[in-house]
Symmetry: C2
Subunit: 275 residues, 2 copies
C-alpha cells in the first residue's frame, strides 16, 4: 500500500529531525502519529513491524522511544490489532507520568524547598501536580549550561505562580543546604543500578549526600536499559555551544550526559512506586 | 604636604575602581604605587598610617590587600622607614607566589593530567613553572560561569603550549576520573580551617573525594583571615550576568564565592610549604 510507505517515511523523518522535544514528548508524538498512520493506511503486519524496527533505531540515545516501539511489537505478537497495540502503549506512557507524580508527591514535605538540575518532564509533572493541588512549595533550579534548559523550567514554574530561585550550575553546593529535598529526572536506568542523566546531576547528588538531603530520581519503566555503565556511550553535542576561545592547544568538550551511581540515590520513583 | 593628599586620593580611587585585576595583582599594584607615592611626597608617619588604614578598608572582600597593608603598618611599628616597609612587603608577596609554585610542583606526578576550576594566579604560577621547566603535563579546566575566567586560563595555557581541555562547570564529575590531581586557588583561609573560593570549588572537591583524587589548595599566607565560616559574608555580583529570563516568580542568584571544608582538602600549600 503506497499510502503507508509515504506516511511511514514522513513519520521517521519527523522523529529524526525533532531536536527540540524531550524523549517522552517525542515518544508520545510518534505513537500518536503512528496511530493516525495505521488508521489511515491499514498496513500489513510485516510492513508495520518493519516500520517499528526503524523507529526503534532512529534515536538510539532516547531509550524511551526504543522501548515504546518494542512494547508495541510485543503487543502485536500477543495478538492485539495494530491500532489497539499502539493505543495501549500510548496510554501506558501517558499514565506513567501521572503515576510518577502521585508517588513522588508522597516524598515532598509541606512547604518544601525542592532543588533540581536541568529540566525533566517527570519533575515538571510533579511540580504541576503540587501546584494544581495548591501545595505551598518553592524550587531552586540550575541554568544547566550550555543548553540552559533550566530557563525553560523557571518560566514554566513562573507560569504556575511557583517561586523559583535560578542559579548557575557552579552554585549547586551553595544552595543544596537551603533545600529540603532534591529531585532529578532520569534519562536511562541502567541494568547495573546506575542511571544516566544530564551532566551536572552527579555533582548535585554528591552535594545532596554531603549535606544529608534526600535525592529522589523520577523516571518511568520505559527508561530501563539492558546496558551497564561500562557499555554506555555518552552523547557529545557540538562544542560551538560553549563559545570557547580558539587555540591550537585548546580542546573544548561538551558531553551532555553522565552516569550516576545508585549509591548516591535515596530512591527511584517510577509508575509502580518508590524503590 | 599637599602632594601626598592628592597622590593618596588617586591611589585609593584606583584601588576601589579596579574590578579587573585579581587580588594579588591588585595588592602588588597598590604596593608599587604606594612606594612611588612615599618616594615622591615623603609623608609624615601619621599621614601614611591614615592612608594605610583607608587602603585596608577599600576592598574588604580581597583579604590579600588588607593583610598586605597590615604588614606595612607592622613593619613601620618595628621602626623600618616607610619606603623600606613597603618594599619589604612587596618582596614578601612577590616571593610567595614563586615559593608556592616550587612547593606545589613536588605534588605533581610526571605526565600529569591536572584539573582546576576558575582561574587562580597561584595555580597559573604552578603551570608557568612546570612549562618553563619543560615538564610534560596537560590541564582540564572549567569555563567557570558566569565570569568565564576559565577562558582566560585556557588562553594562557595555549600561549604556553600546554594542552588544555575546556569544559562546562556541569561536566566536572565526568572529567575528574580522567585527572591525576586536582588543584585549586584560595581566596581566603578561614580561622576554622575552611577556605573561601569561587563557587563550584566545593563541587570539584566533592567529586575529587568521590574519585579518590588528591585535592591541593594553593594560597599564600596573605590570605589568612581571623573570620570563621559562620562570620563570612559571601559577595554577590549583579544577576544580570546570568542572562536569566524575567518573571514575577523568578529570582536569579549570583553568589561568586563559597566556603569549602578542610575535610575535603588533601593539603594546603603556601609559601612555607605543604600543610
Amino acid at each position: 500500500m503506497a499510502g503507508f510507505d509515504d506516511s511511514a517515511k514522513k513519520l521517521l523523518n519527523r522523529l529524526r529531525d525533532d531536536h527540540q522535544s524531550g524523549a517522552t514528548e517525542l515518544a508520545l508524538n510518534t505513537l500518536r502519529e503512528l496511530a493516525a498512520c495505521v488508521e489511515a493506511t491499514d498496513p500489513a503486519a510485516e510492513e508495520l513491524k518493519g516500520l517499528l524496527a526503524e523507529l526503534r533505531k532512529a534515536r538510539p540515545s532516547m531509550i524511551v522511544i526504543g522501548n515504546a516501539m518494542a512494547r508495541v511489537e510485543s503487543a502485536l505478537e500477543d495478538g492485539d490489532t495494530p491500532l489497539a497495540s499502539v493505543d495501549q502503549v500510548t496510554r501506558e506512557l501517558e499514565n506513567a507520568s501521572i503515576a510518577i507524580a502521585e508517588h513522588a508527591r508522597q516524598q515532598i514535605p509541606a512547604n518544601a524547598v525542592i532543588m533540581t538540575h536541568s529540566a525533566s518532564s517527570a519533575v515538571l509533572g510533579l511540580f504541576r501536580l503540587l501546584a494544581r493541588e495548591q501545595h505551598r512549595f518553592c524550587v531552586i533550579c540550575t541554568q544547566s549550561s550550555p543548553g540552559m534548559e533550566g530557563h525553560q523550567l523557571a518560566l514554566a514554574l513562573d507560569d504556575l505562580g511557583v517561586p523559583v530561585t535560578l542559579i548557575t550550575d557552579a552554585q549547586m553546593a551553595l544552595f543544596v543546604p537551603r533545600a529540603d529535598v532534591v529531585v532529578s529526572g532520569c534519562d536511562t536506568w541502567l541494568a547495573d543500578g546506575h542511571f544516566v542523566n544530564k551532566s551536572g546531576t552527579r555533582l548535585l547528588a554528591l552535594a545532596a549526600r554531603a549535606h544529608h538531603k534526600p535525592f529522589w530520581v523520577l523516571g518511568d519503566s520505559f527508561r530501563h536499559s539492558d546496558q551497564a555503565t561500562s557499555d554506555v556511550s555518552l552523547e557529545e553535542m557540538p562544542v560551538s555551544e560553549l563559545h570557547a576561545p580558539a587555540g591550537d592547544w585548546i580542546t573544548p568538550r561538551n558531553i551532555y550526559f553522565e552516569t550516576i551511581p545508585a549509591s548516591l540515590v535515596t530512591g527511584r520513583i517510577n509508575e509502580q512506586g518508590v524503590f
